[in-house]
């Protein structure tokens, strides 16, 4: 399958990319291309112009700075997978990246693209919701910061204006006593999640939960932040009863649709089980296990 015809531009600078986007209402940004190119082949997308960011090396980086982990939008999944910093300090992110598609796709696919595409079945959205991340949007007037819980406005829709490009993701650097985990059920390698749960926890001095973040993948029209479940566990000891109560609330926050991956009931039950497992693993890692 060959995509419909389009024009193609390789801007040399981010400013040039933003200007091109502003001038062309039918333009799309090409990042890793592993969602966009298949959609173009299927005629689900037919942009008149692709603006390729792959030559902007300045958008691919991973660094800790001022209390944040800053991820350039063009950072590949494989780069997260091969980063010692991510493996050691950001286990939730490390878990997530390894569950995305397959190794060949991860060599091309980008973190920024995974978020900006805003497919509720994508994996990074739930993880970024659990972390309480921010994204940086760069437009003609400069940068603005969007909290991740205000970013996903609908299926495949985000708070980005047409002339804005997602350029950076910021994850709060976890304090000591933090841990996270991503638990996903997929029918086979490379499939989207039947359901998945991201959990991030910080434990206080007394062993109770100071921070709780829980995000859900592919069980609604957008990625879901399970706020009631988070609130129920915050300030509490992460014992079995409290984890189960939070997981129950997470499953109630899910709004899955029955499809060939499973019934609504099954997916809701799956969210509960995955939430228990993700929270337990997050606590274990927070305790240094």
């Amino acid at each position: 399958m060959i995509p419909p015809a389009f024009d193609y531009a390789t801007p040399k600078t981010l400013r040039e990319a933003v200007a091109l986007l502003g001038q062309n209402p039918e333009a799309k940004i090409l990042a890793g291309g592993h969602s966009l190119i298949p959609m173009m082949k299927f005629r689900l997308a037919s942009p008149a112009l692709l603006i390729d960011l792959n030559r902007l090396d300045s958008l691919a980086y991973l660094r800790e700075e001022g209390g944040w982990l800053k991820i350039g939008a063009m950072t590949r999944e494989a780069d997260l997978d091969h980063s010692d910093l991510i493996q050691k300090k950001y286990p939730l992110l490390a878990d997530t990246t390894r569950m995305i598609a397959d190794p060949l796709v991860r060599n091309m696919a980008t973190v920024g693209g995974n978020l900006a595409h805003a497919d509720p079945a994508n994996d990074h959205p739930a993880t970024m919701l659990a972390y309480g991340a921010q994204v940086v949007a760069t437009g003609p007037k400069g940068e603005r910061v969007i909290p991740i819980d205000q970013f996903f406005t609908g299926p495949f829709e985000t708070a980005l204006a047409h002339d804005e490009i997602l350029t950076e993701i910021r994850i709060p650097a976890p304090r000591p006593g933090s841990g996270g985990a991503y638990m996903k059920v997929e029918r086979k390698v490379g499939d989207f999640a039947t359901a998945a749960v991201a959990a991030q926890i910080s434990l206080g001095a007394g062993g109770s939960c100071e921070y709780v973040g829980i995000g859900l993948t592919n069980v609604g029209l957008t990625p879901i932040k399970a706020s009631k479940a988070e609130d129920a566990l915050k300030g509490q000891k992460p014992d079995d009863a409290n984890i189960r109560r939070a997981a129950q609330l997470a499953s109630e926050a899910a709004e899955p649709a029955s499809d060939y991956r499973g019934s609504e009931e099954y997916k809701r039950a799956l969210v509960k089980t995955l939430a228990v497992r993700a929270l337990r693993k997050a606590v274990e890692r927070a305790k240094g296990g």
């Binding site: 060959i2 193609y8 291309g33 397959d102 060949l104």
Partner: protein
């Protein structure tokens, strides 16, 4: 619709052509350059039959535009053997019966080469994980794993 002049180093040789922006890398290789060793399987980024190395990393060439490879380096199955001598991974697939119909084999071998470059001593699990983006409908993977293990051993002594 735009046409672009691309210059790609394929298996060490510089190749140039004018292509439409929508030309996929796999079509550039097979049709523009006539190098049909790279196969088209699912055409939907699932099966890995079209796997090549793009600037040293394994990628599915059905989901990369030829214009994206401009100025870059591509390695295909045709580039594995050197001076008439098979690459250890090719030898491994032959010795360990790592193929039946052979359709997935070029992509399988390129993924394996990328894996062994990153991890010269993979465990069986790591091999299966490393090849999880490549599907084989004949072998059940047992002999493919053995072929990669054979190549890993062989490459250590070279």
């Amino acid at each position: 619709m735009s046409t672009h002049h691309v210059k790609v180093t394929v298996n060490g040789a510089v190749k140039e052509a004018d292509v439409e922006a929508r030309t996929l890398l796999v079509h550039f290789l097979r049709e523009t350059l006539g190098m049909t060793g790279t196969h088209i399987g699912c055409d939907t980024t699932s099966c890995g039959a079209c796997a090549i190395l793009l600037n040293g990393r394994a990628a599915k060439s059905c989901t990369v535009l030829a214009v994206q490879a401009d100025g870059g380096e591509v390695m295909t199955v045709e580039g594995l053997a050197q001076n008439g001598k098979l690459h250890p991974i090719q030898e491994g697939f032959m010795e360990k019966h790592g193929l039946q119909c052979g359709f997935c084999t070029p992509g399988m071998m390129l993924s394996a080469v990328a894996l062994l470059k990153q991890n010269p001593n993979p465990t069986e699990d790591e091999i299966r994980w490393g090849l999880s983006g490549n599907l084989c409908r004949c072998t059940g993977y047992m002999n493919i794993v053995k072929a990669v293990q054979y190549a890993a051993e062989k490459m250590k002594t070279q």
